[in-house]
Assembly symmetry: C2
Homo-oligomer: 349 residues x 2
C-alpha cells in the first residue's frame, strides 16, 4: 500500500526573516508495510491540525549562525519534513496501543501525513471532551502548558502582583494574561495593533494594554501602565521591551523568558538590560522550555478544562487551511499577522 | 567635649570613572553631648579599619544618571560623610548596650570617627577571636557573607559542577573560588594581571585562571578553560564577560550577579547576552545583595571561622593607611590595583 504525502520543507537554511521563497511543497510516496509481523513500530497519522510556532525558525538557521545555541534546537535540513505538534487520526499502526481511527495528539509534521516513530510523542485523545479538536493543539496542548507552567512555576506569582505580558495577543500571551487575571493580578499586555489592544482589554479582561508600535519610548509606556512597577514580566519578545521592563521592575521582580521573537530573525537586536537594576532590585531572569514543565501537566489540564467549561478562560485561534498555507502562516508570525494561536487545518475531521 | 574629625567626601557627583579631584578631605568639629540623660542614642566610634568597595560609586552618581536604579542606592551628596562597613572602638556611648572601649563592627564612615545612630548597623566584636581585626571587615564581614551566601544560596552549586568567577582576585571573588573548591567544584577565575592569575592558581588552589586583558576573545578563552561548559557563573563584572559566560553555559546554568564593575563607571557598556541561549539552555540570571543573606549569617560565620582555623581558606587583604589614602584606594578598585579585600587602616589598634 502506498500513499502520496504532500509536505512542507525549507529549500535552504534561513538566517533572518523567513520568506515564501525559502519554502517548498514536496510530494513523497510513502510505502506502508502492513505485515503485522513487521519489525517497525511506526504509527501513520493523517494530520488534521498542526501548530505553527515561531521557535521553528531557530531550527531552520544554518549551523554557522552567530546565535550560538543553535545546537540545542534540533536542526531542520533542507528537504526534511518539519515536525510540529498537532492532532490527527491514526491511519495505520504497527503498535498495539494505537489502532486505525484513533484520535491522537503529538509530534506530527507540517504535511498531510506523519509517520510517528516509536519513542516520539504521541497520545490518544478522548473523542468526547466536547472541545473542538483544534483546542488540543493550542489551549489544551503545548501552548497552554507553556503559558500555565511558565506563569505559575517559573514566575511564581502572588495575587495582587503586577504582571506584564508581551506579545499578549499571541498563542501563549493571551492565555498567560488570563491565568494572571484568574489569580487576581493586575495585568497589562503589549501587542502590535490597536485591534489587538482593544481585544485584550475588552474581550480578555486585561486591565490595560498598549500598541508598542505607537510608543516612542517603551520605558515611558510601561511607567504609564505600571505606576507601581512591574513584579512579573512574561517575556515573549526580548530586545528593547525586555530592557524597558527591567527598568520598570520592582524589587525581587521576576522575568520568565518564554521566547524572544524580536531576536529570532535579527541576531543583532539583543536585549542589554541595565545590570545595575538587576543587582539592586534583585531581579531574576529565567529562560524555560515547556518540556521542563511536564510535572504540572496534569494540574494544567484539569484547571484549564475547568476554566474553559466555566467560561472563565477564552482562547483565540487563527486557523488557515491546507498544507499550501503553512509557509505563509509561519511567515505571518514574524509580521504580527496572527491573532491568538496560529494553526493550520490540514484535513477535515 | 569636642573632637576634630577628618573625613572624606565628594566635591561633586561622579559620573564615570572616579578621580582624585572628585574627593576632598574635610575636618569637622564634633561636639559630644555627654549628659547621661541625653535624648540622643548615638554611639561615637573611633574608626580603625574601613571597607573600600566598588558599589560606593553608584551612590556618588547624580540623580539624573541614566542608570535607572540610582534611587535604590542611597545617594551620597557632596559634603556628606560616606558610610561604609568598618571596625572600630567605642569612644563614647549613650546606649547601655555599648560602652567605652568596646570593639565594634558596623556601618562606620570614611573618616576618623563615626557617629552611629540608633537603628544603624553596629555589633560588638569578641576581642578574643584570635583573628586580625581587619578580618572582621573582609572575610568575616560583608565581603565574606556576600561570597558565601551568594555562592551557596543564590548559585545553588553541587559538588563537581564547573564554576567560573570573574574579578577572582577581588574581595569577594577570591573567597567564592575557595568556597567552590571546598565544595568539590572545578573552579576557574579571571583577573587582570599575570601576577593575579598566578596567585589564584598557585596560592588559592583554583583549577585554572586567565588574564582577561590578554585575551582577544573572551568566549574562546572560556571555551578553552571549560571544555565541558560552565554550570555556575559568579559575576562581579558584567559586560562582555557575562555575554561570554552565557555563551559557554550548560543547560540549567546559573548566573549570580553580585556586581558589574565594568558597567559602574560606563553606562554604555551593557551586557547583551544571547537570549536564545537563555531560553534554550534555561539559564537563570539573578541579582542579589548581601543584605538579603542574613538568614545564612550564622552558618557563614561558623563555617568560615572553621575553614580559617583549619587553614582551608586563605584571605588576601590589601591595606592602605590613613584617611588621606581613602580616595586613591577607592579609585584603585576601578583600575584593578587591589589584590584581595581593599581596606584602609584609619588608626592603630
Amino acid at each position: 500500500m502506498e500513499i502520496k504525502n504532500k509536505y512542507v520543507t525549507i529549500k535552504t537554511n534561513i538566517n533572518g526573516a523567513p520568506k515564501e521563497s525559502d519554502f517548498e511543497i514536496k510530494v513523497e510516496n510513502v510505502s506502508l508495510i502492513i505485515e503485522s509481523e513487521s519489525e517497525f513500530k511506526d504509527v501513520v497519522v493523517k494530520n488534521m491540525f498542526v501548530s505553527i510556532d515561531p521557535y521553528q525558525i531557530n531550527r531552520m538557521k544554518s549551523q554557522s549562525s552567530s546565535q550560538g545555541t543553535i545546537s540545542f534546537a534540533t536542526a531542520i535540513s533542507p528537504g526534511d519534513s518539519i515536525d510540529s505538534y498537532g492532532v490527527g487520526r491514526v491511519l495505520f499502526s504497527h503498535r498495539p496501543d494505537f489502532k486505525k481511527g484513533d484520535l491522537v495528539a503529538g509530534l506530527l509534521t507540517w504535511g498531510e501525513y506523519s509517520i510517528v516513530k516509536e519513542g516520539s510523542l504521541l497520545n490518544k485523545l478522548d473523542p468526547n471532551t466536547g472541545f473542538p479538536l483544534s483546542y488540543h493543539v493550542g489551549v489544551l496542548g503545548f501552548s497552554g502548558l507553556t503559558a500555565y507552567g511558565g506563569f505559575f512555576e517559573v514566575c511564581k506569582p502572588k495575587p495582587g502582583e503586577k504582571v506584564f505580558v508581551s506579545a499578549a495577543s499571541g498563542s501563549i500571551g493571551h492565555l498567560v494574561g488570563q491565568y494572571a487575571k484568574l489569580l487576581g493580578c493586575y495585568v497589562v499586555g503589549s501587542a502590535g495593533s490597536q485591534e489587538k489592544v482593544n481585544f485584550l482589554k475588552e474581550r480578555l479582561g486585561f486591565d490595560d494594554a498598549f500598541n508598542y508600535k505607537q510608543e516612542t519610548d517603551l520605558k515611558s509606556a510601561l511607567k504609564r501602565c505600571f505606576p507601581q512597577g512591574i513584579d512579573v514580566y512574561f517575556d515573549n519578545v526580548g530586545g528593547r521591551m525586555l530592557e524597558a521592563a527591567v527598568a520598570n521592575m520592582n524589587s525581587f521582580g521576576r522575568v520568565a523568558v518564554c521566547g524572544v521573537i524580536s531576536e529570532y530573525t535579527n541576531a543583532t537586536t539583543r536585549a542589554a538590560p541595565e545590570m545595575l537594576d538587576i543587582v539592586y532590585k534583585r531581579i531574576t531572569i529565567k529562560g524555560f522550555l515547556a518540556s521542563d514543565l511536564m510535572n504540572v501537566y496534569a494540574e494544567f489540564l484539569s484547571k484549564t478544562v475547568e476554566y474553559l467549561k466555566g467560561g472563565k478562560l477564552k482562547t483565540i485561534e487563527d486557523i488557515s487551511r491546507g498544507v499550501e498555507s503553512i509557509p505563509s502562516a509561519f511567515i505571518g508570525l514574524f509580521n504580527g499577522e496572527n491573532m491568538g494561536k496560529k494553526i493550520v487545518k490540514v484535513a477535515d475531521e
